[in-house]
């Protein structure tokens, strides 16, 4: 068997190296060009949006200059308009939403990934996904017709007992405490609660994914050393999922900043810095656009574009830092 002659194929005798360059067939060339065309179309649509926004916004920004970022009123017709009040309102609502949504999302994510059995887990994941698909106008309806009426006593209670903290106070211009329920409607607090419910699903799913990637060995190690389940979560799951917590929070923040219709339905717009979150009257960039676009002249539209551009840039920064944080926390856990 071992002394069997090795057969030399006649055409293999020549030392001419075979060309290894792949020459794509026609189907491949067509596929390649179609794919490139689709990618190019997508990019051009999206760049068109960005460029068009920037281009049209530059009219208004050229007139107002730097005062766009410092003025509170919004009357482009008279030339005095600025974004500081609406941007302040946007951030107020988003901050309140974050204060409510982070504990909820964190608790739900830990419940889903660590505590419930697998069967319940699937159902819970499905319900959280369903919540992300509920239209915002439905949340707006709920906030307007149910939540507002039942949350006002809570607002009154907070402002009565914690009114010494400036943001919880509800005062008239002379500084006297108001107890009338009408002063508590349409506040940033109520809008913040509704927006919180809308962003919780996003945050929950990002956090849950990062928690489920915490290594099994460390979990079992912690349990074997006698830690309780909460001890294991605190020392293993939370440190490993830190990137997911931050990234999920910021992704939710991006959605909260851009939320429109639920906010429009609830708030009563004011163009001033309202520090009292429980008091009626706040504003947001998207609500400004939704309420003012119809009556706007070409210049007014340009001013709204400028506001939209600022909002876009803010959400862009928030989203990109979020995805960088999430991606960094996932390094090494890639499937490929």
């Amino acid at each position: 068997m071992s002394d069997a002659p090795t057969e030399v194929l006649p055409h293999a005798a020549g030392p001419r190296p075979r060309s290894l360059r792949a020459k794509p067939v026609r189907a491949d060339r067509v596929f390649r060009s179609v794919s490139y065309a689709a990618g190019g179309t997508t990019v051009s649509i999206m760049l068109a949006v960005g460029v068009f926004l920037a281009f049209r916004a530059s009219d208004a920004l050229g007139v107002s200059g730097f005062s766009f970022l410092t003025t509170q009123e919004w009357s482009p017709e008279t030339g005095t308009f600025g974004i500081v009040a609406v941007l302040f309102g946007t951030f107020t609502i988003a901050t309140i939403a974050m204060c409510i949504s982070i504990p909820l999302a964190l608790g739900t994510a830990l419940l889903i990934s660590e505590i419930v059995p697998a069967r319940v887990k699937r159902v819970l994941i499905m319900l959280v996904d369903l919540m992300a698909a509920v239209p915002s106008v439905v949340f707006g309806l709920w906030g307007l017709f149910f939540l507002q009426a039942s949350i006002i006593p809570v607002s009154q209670w907070i402002s009565t007992y914690f009114g010494w903290i400036p943001i919880f106070a509800v005062t008239d211009p002379s500084g006297a405490h108001i107890t009338d329920a009408g002063a508590y409607t349409s506040s940033a607090f109520i809008a913040g609660i509704v927006v919180a419910l809308m962003v919780v699903p996003t945050q929950t799913s990002v956090m849950r994914e990062s928690f489920s990637q915490a290594p099994l060995g460390e979990r079992e190690g912690a349990l074997a050393l006698g830690s309780t389940r909460w001890g294991m979560i605190r020392t293993v799951v939370l440190p490993f999922g830190r990137g997911g917590i931050i990234g999920g929070t910021m992704l939710g923040l991006g959605r909260a900043l851009g939320e429109t219709i639920a906010v429009v339905m609830i708030i009563s717009p004011v163009f001033s810095l309202n520090w009292q979150v429980l008091k009626s009257g706040t504003n947001s960039v998207s609500a400004l656009i939704a309420l003012r676009y119809g009556e706007a002249s070409q210049f007014g539209l340009s001013a709204l574009m400028a506001a939209g551009l600022v909002l876009f840039i803010v959400t862009l920064i928030v989203n990109f830092s979020a995805s960088i944080i999430v991606a960094r926390s996932r390094s090494g856990a890639d499937s490929n």
């Binding site: 889903i112 959280v128 239209p135 006593p153 309780t228 219709i261 990109f320």
Partner: protein, 491 residues
């Protein structure tokens, strides 16, 4: 071991008395005392009573506070105070029996559960509140077939409906899907299968566009299309706004799904000599089909519910308009928004009715998405798995049959003196071999020739041995030191 056993057996046969040593010694259990088995899974009874007692105490505390002691009111406040009271009492009750670590563990677990309960309770409450308040409008059949063109704000719910808004939603979302599905999925395929610096750029831009607030997408279409080109609001403008908003969502979701397709599947396809296009069409896309469908349906659910881009672009109308290029065309979310702006109770009831229709539409889409998809690529349902394994058994038989023919054809030693397995092969193997033989015998000669013919052996079918000698490679004789194998004989 065998020797002992046989000796024992002979001893048993020769002297069958009761004093023969037992083969296995099982220790007596009488002297060992075992503790009662602990239940590690269920909840102990005192724990159940702790929870129940703490809940009762929390409710009592808050009822006391709200009803008698302090001037507090409101349902939500009552619930919050009850919950805080429950936590406090529960911690105290637990600490009677357990140490601080266990108390902390119980409290944290309770907090996690309550976060989940609050979230899902809010979800169910929001949905059912909408549907229940929509029922007065929904029980009128005219609500689904009439438009609002003849119904004023003061008319009862028995006249007027949202048929125009339902049609508007369906037309707009279908047109948006016609734009976004091909473009989105092709872009996702481009990102995954072609790659390169331009693909990275595309991915960055489309990630950036997921941050685009939907109202800004609407504003873009309003300023770029409506004020500059068409000068009127139309369903088509709304379609464009929805498409700008949905495209990044679909690209991103499909990108994630396609990235999960295992690389060895692609490599196997390339190794079989396919080109890139065929790999994508026959391997990558079928593998990720359920995921792609889910991505599209979830994107559709998002797109249907978006109000703000439509608010700026589609315009409000009370009439049925089936032409998306001409005149305003309202959709369901915008109709809801428009209804509830009115102070009239009937209009608000209609708003809730329209919202309920919207919710039911989204729920239906969501359930369809879960039924179709919800599985990662390569994860199959039971039926799919059975079908796949049946197909691979057929492939295996076909390949084995052709391989046996080919092996015997150009291996003269094996063809002349086929190695016979020493023992009988297992029953199922035998059955499969006979089936293979039957298939090989029944197969038309030219087909066998075409599939089995190696380039060096033109006369393969003639040299094929009788079917009884077909021996799968798994049944080679076991190594035995007493009998030399056929290789040792040959050397």
């Amino acid at each position: 071991m065998t020797i002992v056993e046989s000796a024992e057996r002979t001893a048993d046969e020769s002297a069958p008395d009761s004093t023969a040593p037992r083969r296995t010694h099982i220790p007596e259990r009488t002297h060992a005392t075992t503790a009662p088995k602990r239940d590690l899974r269920g909840t102990p009874i005192d724990e159940v009573f702790n929870v129940l007692g703490a809940a009762a105490a929390g409710i009592a505390i808050s009822t006391l506070l709200f009803g008698w002691l302090t001037p507090m009111s409101g349902l939500i406040g009552w619930v919050v105070v009850s919950f805080l009271g429950f936590l406090l009492v529960y911690a105290v009750l637990t600490s009677l029996r357990a140490d601080a670590l266990a108390v902390r563990e119980r409290i944290m677990t309770t907090l996690f559960y309550s976060a989940g309960v609050i979230l899902l309770g809010a979800l169910i409450f929001v949905l059912s509140y909408t549907v229940i308040r929509g029922i007065p409008a929904l029980i009128n059949p005219n609500f689904f077939v009439e438009t609002m063109s003849l119904a004023g704000p003061l008319d009862p719910l028995s006249s007027g409906g949202v048929a125009h808004a339902i049609m508007g939603t369906l037309i707009q979302i279908s047109m948006a899907l016609v734009i976004t599905i091909p473009l989105g999925i092709t872009t996702a395929v481009f990102l995954n299968e072609i790659g390169g610096p331009f693909a990275r750029f595309v991915r960055t831009v489309s990630d950036a566009m997921t941050a685009l607030p939907s109202i800004v997408a609407g504003l873009f279409v309003y300023a770029a299309i409506i004020t500059l080109v068409t000068h009127q609001r139309s369903g088509f403008a709304a379609t464009l706004a929805i498409s700008v908003m949905m495209l990044p969502i679909i690209i991103r979701a499909s990108d994630v799904v396609l990235r999960l397709v295992p690389h060895n599947l692609r490599e196997a396809s390339y190794a079989l000599g396919t080109n890139r296009w065929r790999t994508v069409w026959h391997v990558v896309l079928p593998t990720s089909r359920s995921g792609l469908v889910t991505a599209v349906i979830l994107g559709t659910a998002r797109g249907i519910g978006e109000t703000s881009p439509v608010l700026l672009t589609s315009g409000v109308t009370a009439e049925m308009n089936l032409n998306p290029f001409q005149g305003p065309m309202i959709s369901l979310p915008l109709q809801v928004f428009d209804f509830v702006k009115s102070p009239e109770p009937t209009m608000i009831a209609r708003g809730f009715g329209a919202a309920a229709v919207l919710v039911l539409l989204v729920l239906t889409l969501f359930i369809i998405a879960r039924l179709i998809g919800g599985r990662g690529p390569g994860q199959l349902s039971d039926r799919q798995r059975r079908a796949a394994s049946a197909a691979s058994v057929r492939d295996l038989e076909r390949i084995q049959a052709t391989h046996e023919v080919a092996r015997f054809a150009h291996d003269p030693v094996a063809a002349n003196a086929p190695r016979k397995p020493k023992g009988r092969p297992p029953a199922d193997l035998q059955w499969r071999m006979s089936r293979q033989a039957a298939r090989a015998a029944h197969r038309p000669a030219e087909q066998t020739q075409a599939t089995a013919e190696p380039p060096s052996a033109p006369s393969a079918p003639e040299v094929a041995p009788p079917s009884g000698h077909l021996a799968p490679p798994a049944s080679t004789p076991p190594l035995d030191h007493d009998h030399p194998t056929s290789e040792e004989n040959a050397t």
